[in-house]
Amino acid sequence: MLTYEPDDTFAHRLDPRTKLAVQIGFAATALAHPTPWALLVLSALTGLVMAGAGVSLRRTLVAYRFALLVLALAPVLSGVTLGAPWFDRAAATASGLASYRVLLVLLVSAAYVRSTPVRDSRAAIQRTIPGKPGQLLGVGVALVFRFLPVLRSDLRTIRETMAARLGTERGAVDRASTIGMLGLSRAFDRADRLSLALQARCFAWNPTLPPLAFSRADYPVLVVAVVLACSAVI
């Protein structure tokens, strides 16, 4: 699974905002230019980004295997025609190039995921989005990270308990609504306890954040991000 891994690569040392800018610039230009030449250049750039973050190509492809299935299927689906010539090669090529650019965008975002801890992402969100929405988004994301394993184990427990009582023999609607109802009521219980805890700890609009600062390495990478974003409109 694709997650943050502590390391000391070039990407790990960059400011999270720089890395977000690169991803946005890359996605913009990849969406704007699905041509073989542009994709060749972007492939080389993707290679650099992945090397810079120490991302393993094989592991990333395994993590995105289900997305890859669709990307591989799209050109086939696009090429097959009912009737002569049975396979439209131009349509399949266009769709294949379009699929490939999606793969490149996914690989570049994998570099961010591997090289950025949640704390940094949260600080980047709160410093980039001004005011109360930014605060709530930052704190909220941190809470989602914290609660995901808890709620996953809640849902597992519900499913295992249902299986032990032959709940798996019931109809699909019955099963889905039982899981949904129990999951939701547990989630609401947890939310109410969380809100009490937040109030007890003086949950404020202006907490202290970890410091973020652009280092010398950030500036050239930021320039790359801007160039990529501009190249989308050329």
């Binding site: 996605a27 995901l148 889905a176 109802m181 404020a204 954040l209």
Partner: protein
């Protein structure tokens, strides 16, 4: 260390309560996608209970905190929490081929919340009649399908029919089942959001 010299500005109690619910439901959505998902070959979006949680967000959190909760889920996934289909994450998924479905969740939660609760106080959705609930949830599902299909077709250069075959047709039975399940949960009346 960065320090804040300004005095502490407490978050309003009502906001804390709604915010906590939105955050926990966003995590529930991630958990439902992981635990409940069954990948099906030849189709981009696996059958998962994720969409069911989107319905519940709209129904129980309303037109403001429902979409906020979806927003937290999308942001957490974008910065690296493996909450998208099949345990993936990253900003790339939010612009990739299946991004249309994910962004449509925001609008779906907003539409459900607005149609059930209006602009005022949150109401108990159990008081809404079954036909109205069904119509609202079907409308939300239509929005998800429409945006998802348009984006899938644009990203992979597929015609509308091809995109529908890849991204909608295989999921219709599962998604209708989730609407029935959502209505059963609401009508079960065990949860009162007010």
């Amino acid at each position: 260390m960065a320090t804040n010299q300004t005095s502490v500005e407490r978050v309003d109690d009502a906001v804390v309560r709604s915010f906590a619910r939105a955050a926990v439901l966003a995590a529930l959505m991630g958990a439902a996608v992981m635990v409940g998902s069954i990948p099906i070959p030849f189709s981009p979006v696996p059958v998962s209970l994720g969409v069911l949680v989107v319905y519940l967000m709209g129904l129980y959190l309303g037109p403001v905190w429902g979409p906020a909760s979806v927003g937290l889920y999308l942001t957490a996934g974008a910065v690296g929490l493996p909450v998208f289909a099949n345990g993936t994450s990253g900003l790339g998924v939010l612009v990739g081929d299946t991004a249309g479905y994910l962004w449509a969740y925001l609008i779906a939660a907003l539409v459900i919340g607005a149609l059930i609760h209006g602009r005022g106080q949150l109401e108990n959705p159990a008081e809404t009649s079954v036909p109205v609930l069904a119509a609202v949830l079907l409308a939300a599902l239509t929005i998800i399908y429409a945006l998802g299909t348009v984006w899938l077709g644009y990203m992979l250069k597929l015609s509308t029919i091809e995109a529908l075959n890849l991204g909608v047709v295989p999921f219709i039975p599962g998604d209708l089942l989730k609407i029935v399940a959502a209505i059963a949960i609401v009508k079960g009346g065990r949860i009162d959001p007010t």
